[in-house]
């Protein structure tokens, strides 16, 4: 067996937005650094770097996580979704469209994380109430619009469809 102290470079295999990815990364690299620097997926942002602001949120096996508090090595074999994978063939998701229609975006810094947490909620529970919506996005700080339009955008999608 390899000396554990020599395992400073990790051979990663994972899926990002449905596509297989293979990369060797330093063991201390965070998932956020990996996505932004190696894969150039810069939708997830580094706000606080300590799990307070939610700007780095991505979905790991369908669940929202702070990518700044996950090592890339911990995402080995995982399925990662970032905001770049949400729109397909140039078509926004109904949730993304609703953010635009409700004026739920201003500077956009929190938006990628907000959309992913809300999308994960809707996939788990297609008809969440306001309280569940508020709880689902409580780990995201928005300093522009306030939260009302964002909650309304999510509600408008939650009320529709099956």
């Amino acid at each position: 067996m390899l000396n554990p102290l020599e395992q400073t470079i990790i051979s990663l295999q994972l899926r990002v937005n449905g596509l297989p990815v293979q990369e060797d990364v330093p063991a201390q690299m965070t998932l956020l650094e990996f996505l932004r620097q190696r894969l150039r997926l810069t939708g997830a942002k580094e706000g606080c770097g300590s799990g307070e602001c939610g700007a780095c949120t991505v979905l790991l096996d369908g669940r929202p996580v702070n990518a700044c508090l996950v090592l890339a090595a911990e995402a080995n074999d995982a399925e990662i979704r970032t905001i770049e994978g949400e729109a397909r063939d140039g078509r926004l998701t109904p949730l993304q469209q609703a953010f635009i229609e409700h004026g739920a975006i201003q500077c956009g810094f929190c938006t990628s994380g907000m959309v992913l947490s809300a999308q994960a909620l809707l996939e788990r529970n297609p008809h969440p109430g306001r309280e569940e919506i508020v709880e689902a996005i409580a780990g995201h700080l928005c300093r522009c619009t306030g939260y009302v339009q964002i909650v309304e955008a999510i509600e408008s999608v939650a009320g529709k469809g099956s």
């Binding site: 554990p4 102290l5 020599e6 395992q7 400073t8 990790i10 330093p26 063991a27 201390q28 690299m29 965070t30 770097g49 300590s50 799990g51 939610g54 949120t57 790991l60 669940r63 929202p64 996580v65 702070n66 700044c68 508090l69 996950v70 090592l71 090595a73 911990e74 080995n76 947490s117 709880e135 689902a136 409580a138 780990g139």
Partner: protein, 288 residues
């Protein structure tokens, strides 16, 4: 940026315990506290031993004979998402619900929350009042400790190097027992607790347990409360005696989140509120 280190993910507990013998190795569970420390403090481990590949630590079982067994790796959200657990141990799931945000709760583990040994750890008050035992493993074997023996001081646990919490064992409270959890934060959103508190009242077995967090360097289980309860089932008298006991037992400090004086006031308000919640649920202290 995190300083260079090595990482390994063992597939068994035995392998993990071997790896933790290596100097300057640290166990990695959910990482929600550890990664922040690696970025912001002088902690410089040579090796992180990721515990998430060990199936034994993932168990979450509720059985008639053994009560609740929580593997150390079970996340806060797994606790909350178990409907069975929400009805059987509401104070525990209420507490888990207040730990961080959804993103944090998807990663943060029960074992990690306890090992971090924060005086305001939200899972501590409910687990203290439920007489929880911890199963601690090392290469020498397993030992069981009461949860109160885990705290040495603020953010200092009593585990020896190379020891891991592997399971959290929560016995069934009596069938008539009621429990509740309260938490005071600076904001209505997500924050660490200024004060948290859990209570358990069992009118049939005559048990009364109150645990207060954030008001000393460890969570504080009020002493002698079973006797107080058995002596004074009159709600007003019991409340007054518990208030005096809490006031004399806690040693809160001034810090960035609140003053000691404010914490004392919150403890008094919470204790009365908690006793009312437990009383309502037991229909007036359950005189039976």
């Amino acid at each position: 940026m995190i300083a260079p280190l090595a990482y390994t993910k063992p597939r068994s507990l035995a392998e993990a315990l071997e790896l933790l013998q290596i100097a300057h190795s640290l166990p990695l569970a959910g990482g929600t506290d550890l990664l922040v420390e690696l970025k912001k403090s002088n902690k410089r481990p040579a090796l992180l031993v990721d515990l998430k590949g060990i199936p034994d630590l993932d168990e979450l079982a509720l059985t008639a004979d053994r009560g609740l067994r929580i593997g150390a790796n079970v996340t806060m959200n797994r606790l909350i998402e178990s409907g069975e657990l929400v009805s059987a141990f509401p104070a525990l799931t209420d507490a888990a619900m207040t730990v961080g945000t959804d993103q944090i709760r998807n990663r943060a583990t029960v074992g990690g929350n306890l090992c971090h040994a924060s005086p305001s750890a939200d899972l501590a008050p409910p687990l203290f009042v439920l007489d929880t035992q911890l199963v601690v493993a090392s290469l020498q074997g397993e030992r069981r400790i009461p949860i109160s023996a885990l705290w040495q001081g603020a953010k200092q646990n009593t585990l020896q190097p190379g020891e891991l919490i592997v399971q959290i064992e929560v016995p069934w409270p009596g069938a008539a027992a009621k429990m509740a959890f309260l938490k005071k934060m600076r904001t209505a959103g997500h924050d660490l607790a200024l004060v948290n508190m859990a209570g358990l009242l069992d009118p049939v077995q005559g048990r009364c347990r109150i645990c207060i967090g954030g008001c000393a360097c460890t969570p504080v289980l009020l002493p002698g409360t079973d006797t107080l309860y058995q002596e004074s089932r009159d709600p007003d008298q019991l409340t007054a005696r518990l208030l005096a006991l809490a006031e004399a037992t806690i040693v809160p400090i001034d810090d960035v989140r609140a003053s000691a004086r404010y914490r004392r006031e919150i403890v008094a308000v919470f204790l009365q509120r908690l006793l009312k919640l437990l009383a309502v649920e037991t229909k007036g202290w359950g005189r039976c």
